[in-house]
Amino acid sequence: MSKASDISDAAAEWLIRIEAGQASSQTWDALQAWMDADPRHRAAFIRLRVGWNRIDRLKNVRPVDGTINADLLSRKNISPAKVLIHGLQPLEGSPRKGLEDLFMPDRRRVLTTAAAIAAVGVFAWFGAYHHGWKSYETGLGAREKIGLTDGTTVDLNTNTALDVRITDSRRDIMLTRGEALFHVAHDSNRPFYVVAGGTVVRAVGTAFSVRIRDPEHVDVLVAEGRVAVGAPGTEANFENPSLLAAAPKVSAGEAANVRRNSVAVHRVHPKDVIRKLAWTEGQLAFQGETLDDAVQEFNRYNQRQITIADPSILKVQVGGSFSTTDPDSFIAALQRSFGIRVHVEERNGNIRLFAGGKPP
C-alpha cells in the first residue's frame, strides 16, 4: 500500500506533465492506467487538478499595461491582508489607454471586433460620447463581478470587455465582446441600455444576460423582469433607443436570438436559465447538448483548444457539470463514458477528439 505523500507527489508530477500541454497520447494512457490502479490515485489527481485550475483567478492581478514581472506575487508587491479585504485587484480603476494596453493574445480579436463595429457605425457614436465612460475587461478563462454606482451588479464572463457610463438621466453599457449578466437596480427615471454590436437592450429593473456571438448575432436571456430588444438594421437601434417602445419584448424565462432585422424569442425552462448562467459560478453545465456545442463552449475559456476530428461524434449528446477552466475533466469524462480517444498536439497542447477504437 503506497503512502499518502507518495501518492500526492506522483499525482503532482502527473499534473505538471499533463498541464504542460505537450503530453503524448502514450502519456495520457499511462496516466489513465495509474488512475485506474487505485481510486486514491485518481482522487489525489483530481484534487490537485481542481486546485491548479482554480488558481487561474490569479491572472486577474496581471497589470493592464502588459508588463511581465516574475515577482508580481512577492511580498513586496501584494499583501495577503489586502487581498483578504479587497479581493484580487478589482478591475475598477484599470482604464484602457489604447490597444497597446491590451493583453497580446486578445489583440487580434479586439481589432476584428473593432473593425466590425466601425463597419456598422457604432464607432462614431462611441467616440462622441467617450467622456465619462469607464472600461472593464476580463481575460481568457477569467470572470469578474463588478458593482456600479447605481447599485447594479455586472458579472463579466471570460474574454469580455464593456464600457459603462452612468448619468442622471440614463445608464449605458457598451458590450464590445464576450458575455455579461446584469442585475439592474430598479430606477424608472434612468433607463438602462446595453448596446452589443448593433443590438440594443433596454431595461428598467431586471436581471438579464447578453452575449455577443458576432456583431450581428447576439443572445439575450432574461432571468427576471422584462426587456425590450432592438435588432440591428431596425429603427430601434443604438442611434434611436427611444424607438424601443415598439421593439419586441423578452420576459423572464425567455431568451432571444437576435440577428440582423430579427428578434426570435423562445421560452426557456427555469432550470435551463440557471444552467445557462452557471458560468457566473465558473461552471459549464450540459444537459443533452451536442459534443460540438460543448466543445465550443470550453474553447471560449481556455487557451488550449479542443477540436473534433471525427464528424461521427459531433452530435453525441453530453451531460454533466464542469469547471470552465478545466477541460481535462471534461476530456476524461468523454474518455470514460464514450471511449472517445484523445490526441494532444505536442506543439501547442491542443486536444483532438476521435471516435472510440480508432487510433489517433
Binding site: A4, G21, R40, R54, L58, V318, G320, S323
Partner: protein, 194 residues
C-alpha cells in the same frame, strides 16, 4: 455520460479542513490524517460513479464517510476505549455542521493562496508566476530563466501541491481552541444532565 462522476469529490474538497479536523480527532497525528483523507476521497469519488440516487448534501455525506473511515481505522488499532469514540461522535455532528458554513469565503481563500505562494522559495515562486499568471509555457520559462525544463517541472510540481493545500486545507480560525472548548463544554453539560 449522464453524470460527471467527479462531482461529489469536487464538492468535498471545499470542506477538506473540516474533514481533516474530523480525522484528526481520532488519530491525533497529521500523517495518519493524510492517509485516511485519501481513503475518504477515494470513497467519495467511487460514490459518484455508483448507480444510486443523487446525494443531496455531499458535505454531510463526506463527513459521514470520514467518520466511517476513522472508525475502521480505530477498530483496527484497538487503542481507544469505545465509549470515548461514541462521545466524540456525538459532538462532531454539531461542531462540523456549524463550521461548514463558515469556511467558504473567496477572499479568504485567495489571501491564503497568496500567503502560501509567498512562502515558496524565490525561484519556485517566479516559475509559478510566469506559468500561472502570465501563461508562459514550461519551455519558455526554462529559456527565460536559464534553467532546465526538468527544473521548471519540479518547481511547478512543488507549487501545485502547496496551492492545493492552501486552497483546500484552510485553517478554520482558532480551530483547536474552539473544538477543545466545545468538547469540554458539552462533556460537562452532558454529565450534569444525568
Amino acid at each position: 455520460m449522464s453524470k460527471n462522476d467527479e462531482r461529489y469529490l469536487i464538492q468535498a474538497l471545499d470542506i477538506e479542513c473540516v474533514l481533516r479536523a474530523c480525522l484528526y480527532r481520532y488519530t491525533r497525528n497529521n500523517s495518519d490524517v493524510d492517509e485516511l483523507l485519501q481513503e475518504v476521497y477515494a470513497r467519495v469519488l467511487l460514490a459518484g460513479s455508483a448507480d444510486e440516487p443523487e446525494i443531496r448534501s455531499v458535505r454531510a455525506f463526506a463527513l459521514t464517510i470520514a467518520r466511517n473511515v476513522a472508525f475502521d481505522w480505530l477498530r483496527h488499532r484497538q487503542v481507544v476505549p469505545i465509549e470515548l469514540v461514541a462521545d466524540m461522535e456525538a459532538l462532531e455532528v454539531l461542531d462540523e455542521a456549524e463550521q461548514i458554513d463558515e469556511i467558504v469565503n473567496s477572499h479568504q481563500e485567495l489571501a491564503q493562496l497568496i500567503g502560501a505562494i509567498q512562502e515558496l522559495p524565490e525561484r519556485c515562486r517566479q516559475v509559478f508566476t510566469l506559468r500561472k499568471v502570465y501563461g508562459y509555457s514550461q519551455k519558455e520559462i526554462a529559456s527565460r530563466m536559464n534553467i532546465s525544463e526538468n527544473t521548471v517541472e519540479q518547481h511547478l510540481t512543488k507549487s501545485a501541491r502547496r496551492c492545493a493545500q492552501a486552497l483546500f486545507d484552510q485553517p478554520i480560525a482558532e480551530r483547536p481552541a474552539t473544538l477543545f472548548d466545545r468538547f469540554r463544554r458539552r462533556k460537562g453539560s452532558h454529565v450534569q444532565g444525568q
